[in-house]
């Protein structure tokens, strides 16, 4: 693995340094209580100016990791450093180094978009005038001005998320920690988020740590990505580097009109190893075998039963599966 691969400047010092982080929970009650290792020895380094992703299915331990980085949760063991500050020893310093967008908006729900952003800025230590100016600037940047006077609780999920993102940006911080920022957003709002992130990186060298289970997003916006599964980092590289793991393989998707024509020998042979989602079969294989399969299903009775097929180069999800990640947890 190349620690400094990616678009970010290679020689920047670390922004986030995590070493051997362990955090366990107790599951169940009384005698039947079991210990769940939500983070099982996580180590990673995010360099200044990087857009770094944590990718993994629900329950992989991403949010537990983020809560320790933001000083919300104390690790059982291991160390967390943000820009040279020991966050395990001084968790209160995290709030002065980072802007955090969590998954919940209940603290802001009954405020108007403008007041939510302004109040958050004031609580980051800005004066009233400065907070108001900064909030107005961010709302304009994200295109939130038309809904500035509406309470968050009355907005759609995507708009509310964008308003919370705006609040996270008011009061400049060198690190942004964003927990699934674009959930529920339409493409326009997503673009607004990514261009706001890019602008901050270009102008202030802002580092961004992003939690996602969205593969497309991970492939397009991240410099590097750590793949997390069952509380461990199973890989850490650029999206391109991870995909190189499955280089040479291709993915064939077959969609049947109705029942799969298992009378055709090639299809019958495929039945056991294809991963099935409704009428869709997905097979990962070599280009040679894929060519034979395509030839087999595009003739005769198989072709009559075929609704659609696609042959694609590997995605980050294929890399994730190859690495041994549990199946099906990522959004495409």
């Amino acid at each position: 693995m190349n620690e400094t691969a990616g678009r970010a400047p290679q020689d920047t010092p670390p922004c986030v340094a995590v070493r051997d982080l362990v955090r366990t929970y107790r599951g169940g009650r009384g005698a039947s209580a079991t210990e769940i290792r939500a983070n099982d020895g996580i180590s990673l380094t995010v360099r200044q100016g990087e857009i770094f992703g944590l990718l993994g299915p629900n329950g992989a331990g991403k949010s537990t990791l983020v809560r320790q980085l933001t000083g919300l949760l104390r690790p059982d063991s291991g160390s967390v450093e943000l820009l040279g500050h020991d966050i395990v020893r001084h968790p209160e310093r995290a709030a002065r180094l980072l802007g955090y967008l969590g998954q919940e908006s209940t603290a802001l729900d009954e405020l108007t978009v403008a007041l939510a952003a302004e109040t958050t800025g004031r609580l980051r230590g800005l004066s009233r005038a400065a907070a108001r100016a900064a909030a107005a600037e961010v709302l304009a940047e994200l295109g939130l001005e038309p809904i500035a006077a509406r309470p968050l609780a009355k907005l759609s999920g995507g708009q509310r998320r964008l308003a919370c993102f705006a609040a996270a940006l008011v009061g400049e911080r060198p690190l942004l920690v964003l927990d699934e920022p674009t959930t529920g957003m339409d493409p326009v709002a997503r673009r607004a988020v990514w261009s706001a992130v890019d602008r901050r990186r270009a102008e202030h060298g802002t580092t961004v740590l992003l939690v996602t289970h969205n593969v497309i997003e991970a492939e397009t916006v991240l410099d590097r990505v750590a793949v997390i599964d069952e509380g461990r980092v199973i890989a850490c590289d650029t999206p391109g580097g991870l995909k190189a793991l499955v280089d040479g393989d291709v993915r064939l998707d077959l969609v049947w009109r109705d029942e799969a024509p298992t009378g055709v020998p090639a299809v019958a042979a495929l039945a056991a190893r294809a991963e099935r989602t409704g009428r869709r079969w997905t097979v990962r294989t070599t280009p040679e075998e894929a060519r034979e399969l395509v030839a087999a299903v595009t003739t005769g009775p198989a072709f009559a039963a075929l609704d659609d097929f696609t042959l694609a180069t590997p995605s980050l999800e294929d890399a994730y599966l190859k690495l041994g990640g549990r199946h099906g947890g990522l959004a495409k």
Partner: protein, 269 residues
């Protein structure tokens, strides 16, 4: 695990820790939280303020059936008790529910990841909830005074009773909301506290059995009720009024300190 899970190297470190961003100071942060909470009221709380006032006026009407108008201790405690009940409903019950909800849904993370003193969040919210109650308390006192033929000349004392009883009760409410292990328990504690304020504050003390009187003495709203009730007297004993309000203030300091501690505990798990 795999060949890829090699731990990152630690050789290149930043020479010195980066400067910390500014943190919010106590009073400006308190003002910001207070202002935001008042704005929230416009969206979510006004119907509840009506409910609080109607409830107290309803109790006045009901008690008028059994208590005669005029300068009796029973009439005074009914009017004073109903008025302070508005404070208990909003500051204790609704604030317990608000903090209970915030804690259960992870909404406290928002404040916990901002560099804001715990006391600012607790005092800002408690102050705002106590302020909501002033119009309802005044309305109830005026209606009660008219119904029970009590003088309205000393109503200005509510300007001291509402903030001090409000501090005591909102501190209790915030502490209940932040300490309750589950949201439903926070709601239940808030409701219980309000019921206690209703029963022990409104009912005339002359006929209550001794153990109930002891309970009554333990409830901070009692001292707000007593202070207010004394001012209906043609010649109030201002020393006793001040003493009762002093108890409210002391309980307020204690309960708000506990609430601040409870907030710190709730955000650092």
């Amino acid at each position: 695990m795999t060949l890829l899970s090699v731990p990152p190297q630690t050789d290149r470190r930043a020479a010195a820790p980066a400067p910390l961003g500014p943190s919010a100071r106590l009073l400006p942060a308190l003002a910001a939280v207070y202002r935001a909470q008042l704005a929230r009221a416009r969206v979510a709380r006004i119907p509840l303020l009506f409910v609080a006032t109607f409830q107290s006026v309803g109790i006045l009407v009901m008690m008028r059936g059994v208590v005669d108008a005029g300068q009796t201790s029973a009439a005074r405690s009914v009017v004073a008790g109903s008025s302070v009940l508005v404070v208990a409903f909003v500051a204790l019950n609704l604030l317990a529910q608000y903090f209970g909800k915030l804690r259960a849904t992870g909404g406290l993370d928002h404040y916990a990841t901002l560099p804001v003193p715990a006391a600012s969040v607790v005092l800002g919210a408690a102050g705002a909830y106590a302020s909501f109650t002033l119009p309802g308390t005044v309305a109830t006192a005026v209606i009660g005074g008219v119904m029970f033929g009590l003088p309205l000349g000393q109503l200005w004392v509510l300007l001291a009773v509402v903030p001090l009883a409000g501090a005591a009760l909102s501190g209790l409410g915030a502490a209940c909301g932040l300490l309750a292990p589950r949201q439903e328990i926070a709601t239940m504690l808030g409701q219980l506290g309000m019921s206690a304020a209703l029963l022990l504050g409104v009912l005339p003390v002359d006929h209550l059995p001794q153990p109930v009187l002891w309970l009554r003495d333990l409830l901070p709203s009692t001292y707000g009720v007593e202070a207010f009730a004394r001012t209906f007297d043609p010649d109030p004993d201002w020393g006793m009024v001040a003493a009762d309000l002093g108890v409210c203030a002391a309980v307020g300091v204690a309960s708000l300190s506990i609430a601040t501690w409870a907030y710190r505990r709730a955000v650092s798990r």
